[in-house]
Amino acid sequence: MKKILLCVLLFSMNSTIQAQGCSDAGICSAGNSFQTQEHEHKNGLEFGSILGAGEADVRYFSPYLTYSYQFNSQFAMSVKVTYSQASGEFGQRGQFGDAYLIGNYHFKTEKPKKWSLLVGGKFPFTRSNLKINGYSLPLDYQASLGTFDLITGLNLNYKRWDFNTGLQLPVYNLNRNSYFKEYSGTDDFPSTNLFERKPDALFRTTYTYQTQNKKWTFKPNVLLIYHLGEDSYETIFGKRENIDGSDGLTLNGNLIGIYHFNKKNSIELSIATPFVVREVRPDGLTRSFTAGLIYKTAF
C-alpha cells in the first residue's frame, strides 16, 4: 500500500509536465476493453467523464458511455460513444466524437496465463472541421480526428500483471479540417488543413492490487504509444507536406483506483500524465494531465 501511495504522490508531482497524454478514447483505452464484467451479469454499462488540460491552456471535458454484452464466457462485445468539449483562446466547442465497436475474445488457456484478443473499429461523428463563428479550429478543438480506424489488440494476463499490445490503423480518412496557422492569429497550433494521420502502436503494462476485503482495487500502469510515421497536411498552395517531428514515442503513466460498492457497481478514478512526448503533436493529442471519474454497473 505504501508503494501505491508513493506512486500517487509521484504522479501528482509530475502533473505539470507539458506533454502528450491520451486524448480520444481510441488506442489509449484499448486495454480496458480486455476486462469484461463478472460473468454472472451479461450486460455492463459504463459512464465516464474525463477532465484534461492540453497545450496552450486548452481544457477538455470528455464524457463517454459504454455498453457491453457478454455472449458467453469467452466472447463479449462493447459499444462506446464519446463526446468532447474543448475550451481555450478559440472559445468553446463541443460535439459527439466517435463511436467504437469492439469485440473481445478470451482464449481457453491454462491458469495462471490468460490470453485474449480484441478487434474493433472507430467510427467518427465529425469530419474534424468544426468551426466557431466561421473560423477554422485546430485539431485540439475537434471532437474526432475524422478517421475510420481498425483497432486490434492482444492481452496476456499473468497473475497480477496485464500486458497489452495494440494497433490503431486509420483505414479511411474523412478528415476535412481547414485550420491554417497563417490565418489564425496564433502560433500555438500547427496547420492541419486536410490532415492525414499515421497509425499508432501501443504497449501497456498494468499491475493489479486488490485489498483483502476486495472493496478497493488499484491499477498503476505504464502506456507506450508509438506513432508510426509523420502526419501530413495540405499547405495554402495545395501541396501536401509531412509534419516534421510528428512521429515517435509517447510514454504515459496512469493510476486507476476502483471502489466496489458490491459485485454489480463500482466507481473508478483514473489519473494520467505523459513523461515522454513527440516533438510535434498536430493531432491535438496534447493532454498534459487527465483525471477521469467512471461509474460501472452490471445487470
Binding site: 458511455l65 463526446y83 483562446e89 466547442r93 466557431i132 477554422s136 476535412r176
Partner: protein, 138 residues
C-alpha cells in the same frame, strides 16, 4: 438509470454548441486604402446550381496585394474558401482562407498575383467549385 442516461443525453445535445473566444471574434479588417491601386478585376459567374453575384478586385497597397469581394453574394455552402488560382479549376492555387463577411483577403507576400488568372470560391469539404471570376488587368 434511465433518468441518468436521458439527462446526460439531453445535456450533451444542448451543449453541442459553440462559444466565441478571443481568436474567433469578428476581426476588424483594415479597409482598402484610398491610395491603393486597382490592378485586376473579375466578375463572378456561378457553376451549375449555384447563385453568385459581385466582383473580385485585386489592389496593390504599398508593397502588399489585397483581394476585395465587392457587391458579393453566393449560395451558402459548408466550407467555402477563397482561392487565387492559375486556372478556372482549383488545381494550382493559393488558399486565401475561409469565405467570411470580411470580404477582404491579404495575398501572402511570397505570391505574385501576376502568376494567377482567377479568383475561385470553392467548397473544400466536399470539393465542389461554387464560383469563378476570371481576372483582367486594369
Amino acid at each position: 438509470m434511465k433518468k441518468i442516461i436521458l439527462i446526460t443525453t439531453a445535456w450533451l445535445t444542448v451543449s453541442a454548441c459553440q462559444e466565441e473566444g478571443e481568436l474567433t471574434h469578428d476581426k476588424v479588417i483594415a479597409p482598402i486604402e484610398a491610395s491603393s491601386v486597382l490592378v485586376y478585376t473579375g466578375d463572378f459567374s456561378p457553376t451549375s446550381g449555384i447563385n453568385v453575384s459581385g466582383q473580385a478586385k485585386i489592389y496593390l497597397e504599398g508593397t502588399k496585394y489585397r483581394v476585395q469581394l465587392e457587391g458579393f453574394s453566393v449560395s451558402s455552402g459548408p466550407d467555402l474558401k477563397v482561392y487565387l488560382s492559375k486556372s478556372a479549376s482549383p488545381s494550382e492555387f493559393v488558399n486565401l482562407g475561409n469565405l467570411t463577411s470580411a470580404t477582404i483577403y491579404d495575398i501572402p507576400q511570397s505570391v505574385n498575383p501576376m502568376d494567377y488568372s482567377h479568383i475561385l470560391i470553392h467548397c473544400q469539404q466536399y470539393n465542389h467549385l461554387f464560383a469563378i471570376a476570371p481576372l483582367t488587368s486594369n
